[in-house]
């Protein structure tokens, strides 16, 4: 009988984390900003079809970075979770925290038990009826959750983007200035990003109904100018 090689648990977890981080670092980043008008989600994404940002429910949006097929599955699972919950109870009972916890459970389970961890990082963002009620949960490949305050950055170069965004962020921004801050943080100092390279969606602060809306290229350009 062959004995498997002993691998220390620390080493095993570190190898998996390195693997997942490498996968995530290859992709482009997403920035999300809470502001007076709602939440702006902005991704550097030249594709019009393989979306990074999408709608989950009335007041909840989703953003994912890393491997497209993996975060897209998580997106669909989130929509299903939210729609079933809203149908079974009420639309008011669908909340982002329960969804974030479920995502964390799923990612954590896969990270420790499956052959390969998911190479993704996701964000669950929701708007309240005022800025106080806005919430963002950042969930990593290993299932760790952080509650982000004001803005969040996902993806490979998250650290430097976060620093740039922190310097221009304040909670009284409107959609236009929040988008400008996100785009210049994503771009960095030595390049500029135009509407064709961006995917932008907003959660608009409204009293009811579906608050998620994608911005078309001309609207992005006019907000950026």
């Amino acid at each position: 009988m062959n004995m498997p090689f002993y691998v220390a648990p620390e080493q095993l977890m570190k190898d998996r984390a390195d693997f997942a981080q490498k996968g995530i670092a290859r992709g482009r980043s997403v920035a999300a900003v809470e502001c007076a008008d709602g939440v702006v989600l902005c991704a550097e994404n030249p594709s019009r079809n393989l979306r990074k940002v999408s709608e989950i429910y009335d007041r909840i949006a989703f953003a994912g970075v890393g491997r497209y097929n993996e975060y897209d599955q998580l997106r669909i699972a989130g929509i299903r979770h939210a729609d079933i919950k809203g149908y079974t109870y009420s639309r008011d009972d669908v909340d982002p925290q329960a969804l974030a916890n479920q995502y964390a459970q799923m990612l954590g389970q896969i990270f420790t038990h499956e052959t390969k961890p998911l190479e993704v990082e996701i964000l669950v963002a929701s708007i309240g009826f005022d800025t106080e009620g806005d919430r963002m949960f950042h969930i990593r490949y290993d299932g760790s959750v952080s509650d982000e305050d004001g803005f969040a950055v996902l993806g490979g170069q998250a650290e430097s983007i976060r620093e740039r965004l922190a310097s221009s962020y304040n909670e009284n921004l409107d959609f236009g200035s929040a988008l400008q801050a996100s785009v210049s943080a994503l771009a960095g100092d030595d390049r500029t990003l135009g509407a064709e390279e961006l995917e932008v969606a907003v959660l608009e602060r409204a009293d009811g109904g579906r608050c998620f809306r994608r911005l078309e290229n001309d609207e992005i350009s006019s907000l950026l100018s």
Binding site: S54, I56, I76, I84, Y87
Partner: protein, 269 residues
């Protein structure tokens, strides 16, 4: 409530009803084996709904009364609903299953749109409703008949379209106008006399108002304008700008004008 996860071969895709079918819930079925509808149990019924095309799209409208036998059970029931941004659905028949069908239909369209990233075509939406009706057929055979109308703006063809249904799920696209429910015979006749595809929005709305008023005048199960309680039929337009319900004040004013016209002609006697 956990995150639903499926094997690729089991995945329900963008269908919400397919998802609910694979997801254990404690909902009971509405169809009871071996039971026939009993006369002792009065089912709540919704009554007259109408829709017609006009130059910019379609108008869809319905009265507000629900009856249980000879009793009025609700005076302000909603029978006209947005199905999604560019379409509306109106229901007549057994109120409980009809409302559930609308809720499911709305979710089905929203779920598809979110999962797939684009909305269903208008034809696809009309077919979805048809399939839901076919699924409801066993309950219809036991007396819980639901007959909806579906109207929407076809964004590919840039035109408003109307669909009528029967209990078996039969789907019939109509060119000019449709009506369903107990007062539909009267409403349909009124629309027939005043209808034209080139009607303006104002003309189309007034025609719907007149049709519903006439239905209420001759059919006891259809509710007329109730100025005492401030309850008026729901009227909505669906155009390239989407589904928009008319203001209640506007509808009330139109009924007043219609009544004044009838009174001056002496035809309300």
């Amino acid at each position: 409530m956990t995150l639903p996860k499926f094997d690729p071969s089991e995945d329900p895709g963008p269908s919400f009803s397919g998802l609910m079918g694979r997801y254990p819930t404690d909902h009971g079925s509405i169809v009871a084996d071996g039971y026939q509808q009993s006369d002792a149990v009065e089912i709540t019924h919704g009554t007259t709904v109408v829709a017609a095309r006009y130059q910019d799209g379609v108008i869809i409208a319905g009265d507000r009364r629900a009856t249980s036998g000879n009793l009025i059970s609700h005076r302000n029931m909603q029978k006209v609903f947005p199905a999604d941004k560019w379409s509306g659905v109106a229901i007549a028949g057994a109120a409980g299953p009809a409302l559930e069908m609308v809720k499911m239909f709305q979710l089905q369209l929203e779920h598809y749109e979110k999962v797939e990233g684009r909305p269903l075509s208008l034809e696809g939406k009309a077919n979805q409703l048809s399939q839901m009706l076919r699924g409801h057929l066993p309950a219809a055979m036991q007396g819980l008949v639901v007959v909806p109308l579906f109207a929407g703006f076809d964004r590919r063809r840039e035109v408003g379209r109307l669909f009528a249904y029967d209990v078996t799920g039969g789907r019939y696209e109509e060119e000019d106008y449709i009506a369903s429910g107990s007062g539909s015979l009267f409403a349909r006749t009124v629309i027939k006399l005043g209808h034209s595809d080139s009607n303006t929005k104002d003309e189309a709305i007034d025609l719907m108002i007149k049709a519903l008023f006439t239905a209420a005048d001759d059919d006891s199960a259809t509710g007329g304008p109730d100025s005492m309680r401030g309850i008026y039929p729901i009227v909505a337009s669906i155009t390239s700008d989407g589904y928009a319900e008319l203001e209640e004040d506007d509808i009330a004013a139109r009924f007043e004008r219609l009544l004044a016209e009838f009174t001056s002609r002496g035809s309300a006697k």
